[in-house]
Amino acid sequence: MFTRKVTLYFALAAILLVLGLFLEDWQLASMVLPLASLFFFANFWGLPEKVDLETSHRVDPADSFGDEDIRVLVNVSNKTSAPLGNVEIEEYLPSIIKLERGTSRALTRLDAGEKAELSLEFKSPIRGHYNIGPFVARVRDPFGFYLVEKRSEAEVLSIMPRPERIRGAELRPRHLGPWPGMIHARIRGPGTEFYSMRDYVSGDDPKRINWKASAKQGHLVINEMEAERVTDVMIVLDTDVSFYESAEAELFERGVRAAASMASLLLKQGNRVGLILQGEERGVIQPRFGKRHERNILFLLAAAKPGRAMLSTSYVMTLLAHLMLPAMAQIVIISPLLDSALVGGIRGLAATGYSILVVSPSPRQPVKFESENEEIAYRVLMLERSNTLLALEKVCTVAQWPAGVPLSTVLREVKRSRLMIRV
């Protein structure tokens, strides 16, 4: 297609012609001749009639945990039988990305059949999704009168939160799947935890004989273990941390890390895990198993951004839990609990039989307050949060997560009293 430059040259030629005719000066009008000749030569010798380019670009790796360099490989092949003297290659990158090696724009010449392989490298940016591209190859004649453009769509680079290696909290949902897992089932079966004792019957494994109890009772008694099964878990990440602006980012990132770590752990234990991202940007992943599903959850978490929720978290959580989870399954809520409206929703879910664990990253106290009013506001906010915590502890398990303490330590402390023991 023609470029804007050729339009300007055409305009100049038209002006010269009009002036020449108006002044009846053929010398002035003859100045059109070099322009016309230039168009002619640029058209016929500047650029082949048909330009055939093959382009591709690849981001390696396309998803990362943010601890490795990202490389973009760009290939442009000239499939035309003539050389292309003026080829511009440009990879559009987000402004946050600073190149370490290579360049995002290159000017080159491509001989007939030549393939140009360029690459660029940059340090992994912070968590998020980034559009790498579109990748554009532009071919022009030497004067830039004519342009042929080939474009490849943008690739998505996903920097996901790295799940921490944590020990699981003791979850005790009443809904259990049929497969062996790590959740105590409150029934006899193969497991690691002591459940009850019974008289020995022929065929029982002699290793399970409780010799001390047998000696006391005068006949053989064996230990019975509590069965361990899998369950369905829905993780709800409350991204609305806008009440606490001074350290919003840190608080939010801890929440994302906790969600990633818990999802990863629960999936490794064989549970079906889903995710609800609730805030300004919402996202839902249905509970499923497996390694690929873990990737999906981390992919969604990569896009999480803090922001004010348009819909009530309680409403969304209740609605989606009922839609996607079996009755009496497990819900893990990760929220700084800066909004007391959450209590109603959690109370409602607990009343319908769901087992709920609330992991609440505690806001870090500011080193210095800007004014007395700010300090008072902070103290009121913390007081309200304490009230919310107290209200929640009556209906579900709550784990407060202070800043600087490993999540694993916090979750190890989570032990819920057993609701009933069948003997």
Binding site: L21, D25, L33, L35, S37, F41, G102, E149, R151
Partner: protein, 173 residues
């Protein structure tokens, strides 16, 4: 007085062009080149109006083509400079490969531009000489205007038929 004004205009153009080249500002260099084109055309119009003797056509065309060539060449050199500046201080193999390609690009671009401009000037002079052998018997302005418009139309048709719409279909997703 007229000479003084002309001199000051040229000095301004030279200052703008030089500052654009030194500061590597493509806008300024293009502005200076466009200024030169305007001075060239305005000078010719001025000489027509003041009934001054006309300059040699070949010299006029040469000046005109030279201004266009230097304008385009400055754009190429400044683009090269901009890219080279971005690559400066990077010794990695990827940047080195891009730098090598950039060197080939700039030399190829300048030589090709020079060839095309020389070709265009040569063709213009040949056409002028050929035009001098023939003369149109009908010396009417309207007839000449129609003739010129027909030639321009033919030129546009020729160029458009070669580039459009084939190039549009090449643009792929």
């Amino acid at each position: 007085m007229f000479l003084g004004l002309g001199l000051s205009i040229i000095l301004v153009i030279v200052a703008v062009g030089l500052s654009g080249t030194l500061a590597r500002q493509q806008v300024l260099t293009t502005l200076a080149s466009v200024g030169l084109l305007v001075v060239l055309v305005a000078g010719k119009v001025g000489s027509d109006l003041s009934r001054a003797p006309a300059p040699d056509t070949a010299v006029l065309l040469f000046e005109f083509v030279a201004v266009i060539f230097f304008m385009e060449a400055s754009r190429v050199v400044l683009s090269y400079d901009e890219e080279a500046k971005e690559l400066a201080g990077r010794g990695d193999d990827m940047s080195q490969a891009v730098r090598e390609r950039l060197g080939k690009w700039v030399s190829g671009q300048l030589s090709k531009q020079g060839n095309l401009v020389a070709g265009a000037l040569g063709l213009s002079l040949v056409l002028l000489v050929l035009g001098g052998f023939t003369s149109v018997s009908i010396n009417q302005l309207s007839f000449s205007a129609i003739l010129v418009l027909l030639i321009v139309g033919a030129l546009l048709f020729l160029i458009t038929q070669r580039r459009e719409p084939e190039t549009r279909s090449v643009r792929l997703a």
